[in-house]
Symmetry: C2
């Protein structure tokens, strides 16, 4: 809608250009990271993300609702994803004790091992495709600008 | 994997922080844009993206392979999405003339109308959540940094 009245009203051509750079940069980086994980470790990027979140959590477990929030998936989308990861032995489900409402997703030893194998590939990509392209000053400028986008 | 040897090898804690800001900013913005389009226009963000790409194309049509590339979907993912949009009358399929290989997706008048209704909402979000938060100098700095992430 580059030339419409609505565009003129809300965003300038310069702003639209930056917006497009923003989404294009993100898409390209994610596609490259995903391709590396798939090719070298047969691991989707969304699975990697789930494994990392559980590794960082207390007792390597999170309530499904909390995990969905952290990996930014819908509850139903996360349920399907976790089901498949449980089938492959990377996760276990555990019932939430006391209140009995809901389940935890728990990282298994096999899940930890799979993450350990893949993390070098992933972090190398994060370096090569993104953060390694900036010096310290640029990195802190970028951080400052990105923080402006927080809610 | 914040404290692992692999992290230390490839990315510093400062770099990891910027990386996380980058993906978090992007996820949040996309979720807000998606929520606005869904709530006000019952239109998924991916549909909006397809409609915009076709509006910008010559004769408001693109080969499926070209469209998949532009919206960054897999061919099978795009086929499912286009099927649903055809059912709703927003797109038509047209056979590629000469060589007979493959199809075009074509924007219909109804698709154009739907896009026209939704574009104000979307562009207002792009302004409010992202580009409107920067002055001209910051905007050009951000553009310069984002261009560094191109392949």
């Amino acid at each position: 809608m580059t030339a419409s009245k609505d565009t003129d009203q809300w965003v300038t051509p310069e702003q639209l250009e930056v917006w497009r750079l923003f989404i294009r940069a993100q898409s390209r980086v994610m596609r490259r990271l995903e391709a590396d994980l798939q090719t070298k470790h047969d691991l989707p990027l969304a699975w990697y993300d789930v494994l990392v979140r559980l590794l960082e959590a207390d007792d390597r477990r999170l309530r499904m609702s909390e995990l969905a929030e952290r990996v930014m998936l819908s509850p139903s989308g996360l349920t399907r994803l976790v089901d498949r990861m449980v089938e492959e032995g990377l996760l276990e489900r555990a019932q939430a004790e006391r209140d009995g409402r809901g389940f935890y997703a728990v990282l298994t030893d096999a899940g930890y091992e799979r993450l350990r194998e893949a993390s070098g590939t992933h972090l190398r990509g994060v370096h090569d495709y993104v953060v390694g392209r900036f010096d310290d000053h640029e990195l802190s400028t970028l951080a400052e600008l990105l923080r402006r986008i927080e809610p």
